[in-house]
């Protein structure tokens, strides 16, 4: 990857995991637990378990591809393996995916703020107000974002688990039965389709040149991120299903917020959700900033531009415009479900894995790091 304006940046293992975890895990604060309940009923959490297993399998294929081309990003590898034009096409698809997904998330996070805290603020204003810190963060660069992610991750995790633990008086394990929920076949089907939820681990492959460690540790960074995020998502979904059981679990637009509103530990410890709103808005900001700078870095790579910063305003306009395109919140939710949770795996896992297969068949690259 072209390092013209970031040649000094080398992110450590922990920062890589923190960035990936926030990139993957932020969906927990939106409708993800509800969608698991809709797809898997009382066994929604099994979908996440299956997805994470499939995702790790995909990631192993992708990381072995990265091992064949040490120091190269997946974008560069696409061009080396598939040739200039096909590689370019594939990279454009990845760019469009990351722009679309960031736009949808920008809209959804803004809608969540309207729904929960600031009901009278116009959506455009909230989008814009998310965009300003995103721009500042992206301008400051990947290093600033990754360090912010690294520093804030323990607080975000602590805040998230505090909500789950504080709900202990409302846990009812019988609500997790029948064990197979929607049934074995739907669980398997949605478990595979929902692999998209972990597809964003691909960011590690995109940002590979920025890391101070080799492909071997990158593989473990990916697996660690997927496992920790999967465990967190499973815990959130399990607590959600125990506290707001089926069929009511399929109703809530912002389940995690509803959970935090339910906390009642006596008269003095209630109404705690305002504290948690801070956690998840900061997570949203980090997630959006990571998506934004990744889009800029991909654009720079595809078009062989020496700097990414001049691209930021143009990308901001595109992301903002796309975020404002869906007519209403429910259409945005549906779009996210279709794009990011059902078909995203094709772009994030299937295509890179196919490139891996092509590299193997065409004998391009080398496991021991010889030049392609």
């Amino acid at each position: 990857m072209n390092n013209s304006d970031s040649n000094l940046i080398k992110l450590g293992h922990s920062e890589a995991i923190a960035v990936t975890m926030i990139f993957l895990g932020s969906k927990a604060f939106l409708g993800y637990p509800r969608m698991m309940a809709q797809m898997g009923a009382t066994a929604g959490w099994i979908i996440i378990l299956l997805s994470s297993i499939f995702s790790i399998a995909f990631w192993l294929i992708i990381s072995s591809l990265l091992e064949r081309f040490p120091g190269k990003s997946i974008l560069e590898i696409n061009e080396v393996v598939l040739g200039k034009y096909l590689g370019f096409g594939l990279n454009i698809i990845a760019l469009l995916y990351i722009i679309f997904s960031s736009s949808l998330l920008l809209r959804l996070f803004s809608e969540a703020v309207i729904l929960t805290a600031l009901p009278h603020v116009p959506i455009s204003a909230l989008n814009f107000l998310f965009l300003i810190p995103m721009f500042v963060a992206a301008y400051l660069g990947l290093e600033a974002i990754s360090r912010s992610a690294y520093i804030s991750l323990p607080f975000i995790m602590a805040g998230t688990f505090a909500v789950l633990v504080f709900l202990y008086p409302f846990w009812d394990i019988t609500e997790l039965y029948p064990v197979l929920g929607a049934g074995a076949w739907p669980l398997l089907k949605y478990g595979f389709l929902n692999t998209s939820a972990f597809g964003e681990v691909l960011i590690l492959a995109i940002l590979a040149p920025f890391f101070s460690f080799g492909p071997e540790r990158l593989r473990y960074a990916g697996i660690t991120s997927i496992v920790i995020v999967a465990v967190s998502l499973i815990l959130i979904t399990v607590v959600y299903l125990m506290v707001i059981p089926m069929p009511g679990a399929t109703e809530n637009l912002v389940p995690f917020y509803q959970l935090s509103r339910t906390i009642y530990l006596g008269r003095y410890y209630q109404r705690l959700e305002s504290v948690f709103i801070l956690f998840w808005t900061f997570t949203a900001f980090l997630r959006l900033a990571i998506g934004y700078i990744t889009a800029a870095l991909i654009t720079r790579e595809i078009f062989k531009i020496p700097y990414y910063r001049p691209l930021l305003p143009a990308l901001a306009v595109i992301i903002l415009s796309l975020a404002l395109t869906p007519e209403d919140v429910m259409k945005t939710v549906e779009l996210e479900k279709q794009l990011r949770l059902f078909y995203g795996w094709i772009i994030t896992f299937f295509l890179p894995s196919s490139v891996g297969a092509a590299a193997y068949l065409l004998k391009k690259g080398d496991r021991r790091g010889k030049k392609a």
Binding site: L118, L129, I132, T174, P178, E251, R261, T262, R271
Partner: protein, 422 residues
Amino acid sequence: MGKRLKTGILLLNCFLFFLVPGCWGARETDGLGYVLSMGIDKGKENILQVTFQIAMPQAPGGNGGGEKGRNTEIVSLEAASLFGALQLANAFVSRDVTLIHNRAVIISEELAREGMSKYINPLIRSREIRRNTFLIVTRGQAREFIEKNQPLLEKNPSRHFELLLEGKHFTGFIPDSTINDFTEGVKSPGKEAVTSLAGVNEGNKGEERGWNVTEKARQETAYLPGTVPRVGGNKIEFIGLAVFRGDRLVGFLNGSQTRYYQMAAGMFESAVFTFPDPRYPQTYIISMEVRKGRNPDIHVDLSQEVPRIQIDQVLEGEIMSIQSGESYETGENERELEEYIAGYISREVTNVVKAAQREFGSDIFGFGNYTRRYFWTWEDWVNYSWLERFPTAEVRVNTIVAIRRTGLMAKTVPIASQKGGE
């Protein structure tokens, strides 16, 4: 990065604070009218009559609004919907009336009998109302209940409701009753909903009923709201529960039944019970504080054609009073008392379950949730239609009572006049 650029970014960040979009929806604290409790009755001119109990501002210097001594204003108005009524209230209440601090929703018996979901669903959808808001059914009118509620020890009605409803932990007279509990009960294929039951007591001083001691002990807490024999105090009372089938009110359990209901439902914590003395049931009583020893084991056996419900519970007791002077504190006497009370409680729990089967046909205990383990998928379980099968289920209750403490007395020495007697 240049120093000027850094300064610029820092300034831009500072400027962001001014852009924080709260101003769009700014609602100043002194511009809001906080509803503390809300009552819903059937309307005459329109669908609903909604009553709001609104907090009156009390400035420390006495310059706040409102009359001296009153801390809430009660207004009722008719509208087609709850939120329509809330809007309409702003036609004569100067402040923006909001439900964000509403602690209790009180629904009249008449409305509850027609079905409550259509009134509760908007509350779940609203960002102003929390799912843990208390939901109460009142015998009679909700407006009357709110009006007659004159707490003696609390100024704040929200706190008053919280403290009153927290009383369930040591009386067992009312069940957990929030909007969340109700919604869960209405929507679950494995249980039905209940709510706390409240009412207005206009001064029932009690009357001679010709009960013997055994019956008096049994009836001690068997009251519905409005019927507790008492003089003085706040006119409202919370005792018993409202039974629902679907979202419709189908009947009540009194205070005594509610305690046994909670044992069967696994919600019982502790309460003081009065039992007839096993050796002198027509003459003396025994008072005991009974606590949950451990969570009850509830099994529903579906292997036979008729489902069998088995409840095994362990309770712990502390003797509070032995009128007869018998030394039930130790040895064989203690075991005799434990077995007697265990049998007594088992019978009463069984009676309550059977009453729910026969009179209401409603599984308010959530036994259906224990049938989930028999099914692999949600659809199979729903298709089993537990709620239709519940009335025919067989019920067995097994109680173990262990007397753990005897108060500050180790034994009871008979009074002098009884020495050498009996």
